[in-house]
C-alpha cells in the first residue's frame, strides 16, 4: 500500500475546516489557472497551424478541392502546298473509366455495353484493362461515340461512379486511304512510348501521337501544349463546378509540298491495283504526290482499328499495310534504259551508232532474248529506247562496262538513301563488280552487266527513287525529294551530263510515248502537252519451258503473285520538264490498259494541267471498278465479314472463299516490317527485258 505507507510517514497536521477551505482556494486557483493555460495553449496551437503553417495547409486544402486534369492539345494540322488540310481535327465524344472510382465494375461495364452497343470482344478488352489498370490511369471505353450516346451516359453519371465521358478531338484525314501511307496515323501511346518519354500527357485519355509516316516524323511540331482543366470536386469525386480552365495550345501545323488534290487523284487513279505513284516538281524536287494503294484508312487506324479490319488488311495480297513508295523494292526493268543510254553517251558512244537486233544473242553460256522475239532489226539509240530494244543495250553496255553504268545510276539517284521525314525507307542496290565481290565473294560476269542494263538481276529501286531518276534525267540536276513546303536547300549538283546529251535522252523518251514507242498509252490527253517517259516490266518469275509449252505466254495466265510488275517513269512536258512521275504496278502484268502504269502516270500528270478533265475521266473509270477506294474497301470488308461468318458457321466454303482461305494461311505481314520485295534470285540466262 504505497499510499497508506506514505500516509503513516507524513506528519499529522491539524486539519480544520478553515485550513481545508484555504487549500480549496489554492487548488481552485491552480485548476482555474490550468484552464486559462489550456486556453492559451490551444490558441497558440491554433495560431501555429493557421498562421505559421497557413501556406502549407492552404496548399493542401487547394489540392483537395481542385482536381486538375490535362486537356490533350489539339494536334497541328498537316496542310498541303495550297493550305488545304490533309489531316485536321474533328470534335468527338469519348468515354473512359477511372478504375479507382468504379464501384461495381461488372454492372458498370454492362450498362455501358448496353448504352454504347459494345461488341463482346470490346467488353472483354475493357474488363481486362480495368483489372490491370492501377489507380487513376483511365481505361478508354469507347471513342467517337455519337452525341446521343454521350448524352445518355452523361445523364446516368450519378449511378455510374468512375465513368468519365468527355469531349475531345480526333484526327481526321479528309482524303481517307489515299493519304494513308504518306501521312501515317496517330494512336494512343504504348507502354514503350511512355517508357521512352515519361510525360504525363502521354497517358491523358484522348491524347494521341504520330505512329507512322509524316505524323510520326513531325510529331514534335504537331504536338501542342496541353491545357489544364481545374474543377472543384467533393471528397467523393463529384464535380461541383469548373474553375479557371487554361486552354490547350494547339500544335503547329506543318505545310507539306503535297498537292492534296493530286495526291487523292493519284491514289484513286491506281484503281484496284497494288501500286504506287510518285510525282515530283522538277524545279526543286518537291514531292507533289506519293501514293501507295491499296492502303489502310488512317481515320479508322487513328480511332483504333477493329481486329477484323486488321485481319483483313494483313491477309490482303495487295499488301495494304506496306508503304510501297518507300518500302517496296522492285527491279526497275527497262525504265533504267534512258539512264544507261546517258551513260553510253558519256562514255562517247554516238547516238547514231546502230546495232542489229535479231531477237536474241549469246552471252557466255546463256542465250539472252529481246522482248521482241522477231527482233527489231537495225536500231540506234533513239529507236532502242523508244522500242525498248534489249539487244542494243546488251551490246552497248558490254562496250563501256558496268562501272560507268553504275556511276550514272548512282548520280540519277538509284541506291540513294534520301533524308526524308519517314521512319523507314528501303533504298535498293546499284550493283557493280566491287559490290558483288564484297557481297557474294564472286567475280562480276558479263551476264551481270547484261542483266543490269535492262534493270534486272541485282538492281532494285523504290518508286520514290524512280521518280527522282525521272526528274534528274529530265533536268540533269541531282534533285532531292523534299516534303516541307518552302524548305531551304542548296542548289542541286549536276548529274554530270551535258545539255546536248540530255536533249537526246528527252527526245528518245518522248518517242517512247509519242513516237510510236512502247509507251503510247501514256500519251497525254491534254492538247499541246507531251509526256515523255519509259516503260518497264520487272519479271517476278520467268515463265518455264513447260508452262510455255502448256500455252502460258503472258502474265495473264499466271497466279497474281507470279505476274510481272509494270513500271513507268517519265516527265512532262518533254522539252521543258516541270513534273516528273514514277508509277509501279505490282504484278500488273500489263493486263488492263487503263490500269497499267503508263496510263496511270499520264493521267496523274494530266491532273496538274486540267484537273476537271482528269477527274471526269477518273469518275467514269471508277464506275467500272466498283466505286471510289472507300466504297470498295467497305464492300471488301463486308465480303470478308461474310466469309468469316461462313467459316465460323462451318458452312462448306464456296470456291471464292476457298481462295481466301488460302490467303489466310499466309503469315500476316506487319505494317512497318521492312519486308524485302525483291524478286527471286537473279537468273543468269534467259532473262528478257520487255516494253
Amino acid at each position: 500500500m504505497k499510499f497508506g505507507f506514505s500516509f503513516r510517514r507524513s506528519p499529522r497536521k491539524l486539519i480544520t475546516e478553515a485550513a481545508q477551505s484555504y487549500t480549496f482556494q489554492r487548488r481552485a486557483f491552480i485548476v482555474g489557472g490550468l484552464q486559462v493555460g489550456m486556453g492559451a495553449l490551444l490558441i497558440g496551437r491554433m495560431a501555429w497551424i493557421s498562421v505559421a503553417e497557413n501556406e502549407k495547409y492552404q496548399l493542401l486544402s487547394e489540392s483537395n478541392r481542385v482536381n486538375l486534369t490535362l486537356i490533350p492539345p489539339r494536334r497541328g494540322w498537316l496542310i498541303d502546298r495550297n493550305g488545304k488540310p490533309l489531316a485536321n481535327n474533328r470534335t468527338d465524344f469519348r468515354v473512359d473509366l477511372i478504375p479507382q472510382r468504379v464501384k461495381e465494375p461488372e454492372a458498370t461495364i454492362a450498362t455501358l455495353a448496353k448504352l454504347l452497343l459494345l461488341e463482346p470482344d470490346e467488353v472483354a478488352r475493357i474488363r481486362e484493362d480495368l483489372n490491370k489498370a492501377a489507380g487513376f490511369q483511365p481505361v478508354p471505353v469507347a471513342e467517337n461515340i455519337t452525341y446521343d450516346q454521350f448524352a445518355a451516359i452523361s445523364v446516368r453519371l450519378p449511378d455510374l461512379p468512375g465513368v468519365a465521358p468527355s469531349q475531345g478531338f480526333s484526327r481526321h484525314y479528309p482524303a481517307g486511304a489515299t493519304v494513308g501511307h504518306l501521312l501515317g496515323y496517330v494512336g494512343t501511346a504504348s507502354a514503350k512510348d511512355y517508357e521512352k518519354n515519361p510525360d504525363p500527357l502521354l497517358i491523358v485519355p484522348g491524347f494521341k501521337l504520330g505512329k507512322d509516316g509524316l505524323e510520326k516524323s513531325f510529331d514534335r511540331q504537331l504536338t501542342g501544349k496541353p491545357g489544364a482543366k481545374r474543377v472543384e470536386v467533393t471528397a467523393r469525386g463529384k464535380i461541383v463546378r469548373e474553375l479557371t480552365t487554361r486552354p490547350d495550345t494547339p500544335g503547329n501545323s506543318v505545310r507539306l509540298t503535297i498537292d492534296a488534290g493530286l495526291q487523292e487523284y493519284a491514289g484513286r487513279r491506281l484503281a484496284t491495283q497494288s501500286g504506287s505513284v510518285v510525282v515530283l516538281d522538277c524545279s526543286n524536287g518537291d514531292v507533289l504526290a506519293m501514293a501507295s494503294m491499296p492502303s489502310y484508312d488512317p481515320n479508322s487506324f487513328s480511332d483504333g482499328i477493329s481486329h477484323l479490319e486488321w485481319e483483313m488488311l494483313s491477309q490482303d495480297d495487295h499488301v495494304p499495310l506496306r508503304n510501297k513508295t518507300l518500302q517496296g523494292l522492285y527491279p526497275p526493268g527497262s525504265t533504267v534504259k534512258p539512264m544507261v543510254a546517258l551513260a553510253l553517251l558519256e562514255a562517247g558512244i554516238s547516238p547514231s551508232d546502230t546495232i542489229g537486233c535479231g531477237g536474241a544473242m549469246r552471252v557466255g553460256n546463256g542465250l539472252f532474248h529481246c522482248h521482241k522475239r522477231r527482233g527489231h532489226g537495225s536500231v540506234n539509240m533513239r529507236t532502242a529506247i523508244a522500242q525498248s530494244c534489249d539487244i542494243y543495250f546488251y551490246q552497248m553496255a558490254q562496250r563501256i562496262g558496268m562501272n560507268r553504268i553504275a556511276s550514272m545510276a548512282r548520280r540519277v539517284g538509284m541506291g540513294q538513301k534520301f533524308d526524308i521525314p519517314f521512319p523507314s525507307q528501303s533504298y535498293g542496290t546499284v550493283p557493280d563488280p566491287a559490290w558483288k565481290l564484297r557481297k557474294y565473294g564472286e567475280e562480276w560476269q558479263v551476264y551481270d552487266t547484261v542483266n543490269a542494263t535492262i534493270g534486272q538481276g541485282y538492281m532494285l529501286i523504290n518508286p520514290l527513287q524512280m521518280a527522282v531518276m525521272a526528274a534528274r534525267l529530265a533536268t540533269g540536276r541531282q534533285l532531292i525529294p523534299n516534303f516541307i513546303h518552302g524548305a531551304r536547300r542548296p542548289d542541286p549538283a549536276s548529274v554530270g551530263a551535258s545539255e546536248e546529251h540530255l536533249v537526246i535522252i528527252r527526245d528518245a523518251m518522248n518517242a517512247v510515248v509519242n513516237g510510236g514507242g512502247t509507251g503510247g498509252a501514256a500519251r497525254s490527253s491534254i492538247p499541246g502537252i507531251q509526256v515523255a517517259g519509259k516503260t518497264g516490266t520487272a519479271q517476278v518469275r520467268r515463265i518455264t519451258m513447260s508452262e510455255r509449252a502448256g500455252g502460258v505466254r503472258g502474265s495473264s495466265s499466271l497466279a497474281f503473285k507470279l505476274r510481272d510488275h509494270a513500271l513507268f517513269q517519265g516527265f512532262v512536258p518533254f522539252d521543258n520538264p516541270r513534273y516528273a512521275v514514277a508509277c509501279i504496278i505490282e504484278h500488273g502484268g500489263h493486263m488492263i490498259r487503263n490500269e497499267d502504269a503508263p496510263m496511270i502516270a499520264s493521267d496523274t500528270l494530266s491532273f496538274l494541267f486540267d484537273p476537271t478533265k482528269a477527274m471526269e475521266k477518273l469518275t467514269t473509270l471508277e464506275e467500272g471498278w466498283g466505286g471510289t477506294p472507300a466504297v470498295r474497301m467497305e464492300k471488301q470488308m463486308a465480303a470478308f465479314k461474310l466469309a468469316k461468318a461462313i467459316e465460323a458457321g462451318a458452312v462448306p466454303p464456296l470456291a471464292e472463299n476457298a481462295a481466301q482461305a488460302t490467303n489466310a494461311a499466309e503469315p500476316a505481314p506487319a505494317p512497318p516490317a521492312e519486308e524485302d520485295d525483291a524478286p527471286p534470285p537473279p537468273t543468269p540466262g534467259n532473262t528478257a527485258g520487255a516494253p
Binding site: 497508506g4 507524513s10 486539519i15 487548488r27 481552485a28 485548476v31 486544402s61
Partner: protein, 370 residues
C-alpha cells in the same frame, strides 16, 4: 443593494448571454456546415438550446440541498443503467452505449459525467474533516470513480471514461488530498501506459498511433486528423469567410458538424473565430470557478468547481483532438457540436452551477468564510 429588484438581479443574465452567444455562433457554424441551410442541424440545435436553457434555469431554482440528497441515488441509478447497457450489449453483440427507451435513446455514460462529480463531492462533504489525510479518504472515492469508468471503458468508450476519471479526480484534488498522491499516481500512470495500451481494442490502438503520426495514413485512419488540420490551417488569420469553407462543404472534413465542428468553424472564421470561441469558454470557466469560490459550503464548492472542470474537459479534449494534439476519442464540443446528449449534460452542469450561484448570492451577506 441596487435599484434593480432582487428577482431580476438574481437572474443570471451575464452567463446566459455568454452561453447564448456561444450557442448562436455554433448555430451559425451548423448553418454553414449544412451548406447554408437551417435544416437539418441549425434549427434543431437552436431549439435544443432554448429547451435546455429553460431546463437549466429551472434547475437553478432548485434548492441545492436536493442535489446533495440525490447524489447517491442518482449515482446508483446511472450505475445500474450502465450495467443494463452492458448486459444488452452482451446480448446484441458489439459496442453498445445506449438504452432504447422507445421515444429516445438514453446514453447513461453521458449522465455519469456530472453525476460522478456530485457524488464524489458529496462523499468528501460527508467525510469528517480530519480524515482527509487518511486512507479512508481515498479508497471510497477511487471505487466510486473506478466502477463506472471501468464499465464505460469496456463499452468501449475511451473518451467518456477519461472524462469520468478526470472529473472525479479533479474533485479529489480540490477536496484537499495530499499533493504527493497526485504526483505519485501520475508517475505510476505514466509507467502503466504501455500496459494499458496493449489492452486496448485494435481500433483504439490505431487511433492512438495515428494521433502520434496522422500523416502516416492520410487516406485511412489518420484522415480525420489530417483533414481537420487542413481545415484549421487553411483558415488562416480571418478565415475563408462565412459559407466559404471548402473542406467542410466539399465533404473532405468528416464529422464536420459533430466532433469536428471546430474545424468547420476555424476554416471559415480563422484564428479570430477560434480566439473568440476559446475566450468565450474561458469566461464560462471563470464564472464557474468564481461561483465555486463563493459557494457557502464544501459540497457546493466542490460541485461547482468539479462541474466547471467537466465542461472544461469537454472543450479541452475536443479542441486538442481537432488540432491534432490528442487522439480521436469522440468527445463533442459543447454548444457547437450537433447532438442532444452532450448539450443536455453540459446544461445540467450549468443549471447546477447556477443554482449554487443563487445560493451563494443569497447567503453572501450572512456567511463569510475563507
Amino acid at each position: 443593494m441596487s435599484i434593480i429588484p432582487p428577482p431580476l438581479s438574481d437572474f443570471p443574465w451575464r452567463v446566459l448571454a455568454l452561453l447564448a452567444a456561444i450557442a448562436l455562433f455554433g448555430t451559425l457554424v451548423l448553418y454553414s456546415a449544412a451548406g447554408g441551410s437551417i435544416t437539418p442541424w441549425a434549427i434543431n440545435q437552436c431549439v435544443r438550446f432554448c429547451v435546455f436553457a429553460a431546463m437549466a434555469l429551472t434547475l437553478s431554482r432548485v434548492r441545492v440541498e436536493l442535489f446533495a440528497a440525490l447524489a447517491f441515488p442518482a449515482y446508483a441509478a446511472v450505475l445500474i443503467a450502465l450495467v443494463v447497457v452492458e448486459l444488452i450489449g452482451g446480448v446484441a453483440g458489439g459496442s453498445q452505449r445506449w438504452i432504447n427507451l422507445g421515444f429516445m435513446q438514453l446514453q447513461p455514460s453521458e449522465f455519469m459525467k456530472p453525476v460522478i462529480v456530485v457524488t464524489v463531492a458529496r462523499f468528501y462533504a460527508l467525510l469528517p474533516v480530519g480524515d482527509i489525510r487518511r486512507w479512508n479518504a481515498i479508497w471510497p472515492a477511487l471505487l466510486l470513480i473506478g466502477v463506472p469508468a471501468a464499465l464505460v471503458l469496456v463499452q468501449p468508450d475511451l473518451g467518456t471514461a477519461t472524462m469520468i476519471v478526470a472529473g472525479g479526480v479533479t474533485v479529489m484534488f480540490l477536496a484537499g488530498l495530499p499533493l504527493r498522491l497526485f504526483i505519485g499516481s501520475g508517475l505510476a500512470v505514466a509507467a502503466l501506459v504501455p500496459i494499458a495500451f496493449s489492452s486496448l481494442h485494435d481500433y483504439q490502438k490505431k487511433r492512438v498511433l495515428i494521433f502520434l503520426d496522422p500523416e502516416s495514413d492520410p487516406l485511412g485512419a489518420g484522415y480525420h486528423i489530417s483533414q481537420s488540420k487542413i481545415a484549421i490551417g487553411s483558415g488562416g488569420l480571418t478565415g475563408k469567410g462565412f459559407l466559404r469553407g471548402t473542406q467542410s462543404h466539399l465533404d473532405y472534413l468528416p464529422e464536420g458538424h459533430t466532433d469536428f465542428v471546430f474545424a468547420t468553424m476555424a476554416e471559415e472564421w480563422g484564428l479570430l473565430g477560434g480566439c473568440l470561441m476559446i475566450g468565450g469558454f474561458v469566461l464560462l470557466f471563470r464564472w464557474g470557478m468564481r461561483v465555486a469560490e463563493r459557494a457557502p459550503d464544501k459540497f457546493l464548492r466542490l460541485v461547482a468547481a468539479g462541474l466547471t472542470t467537466t465542461i472544461f474537459f469537454y472543450v479541452a479534449i475536443n479542441l486538442m483532438m481537432v488540432m491534432g494534439m490528442a487522439p480521436v476519442v469522440g468527445i463533442p464540443l459543447p454548444f457547437m457540436s450537433y447532438g442532444g446528449s452532450s448539450m443536455l449534460t453540459v446544461m445540467l452542469c450549468v443549471g447546477i452551477i447556477m443554482a449554487i450561484d443563487r445560493t451563494a448570492k443569497r447567503s453572501a451577506g450572512s456567511r463569510n468564510w475563507g
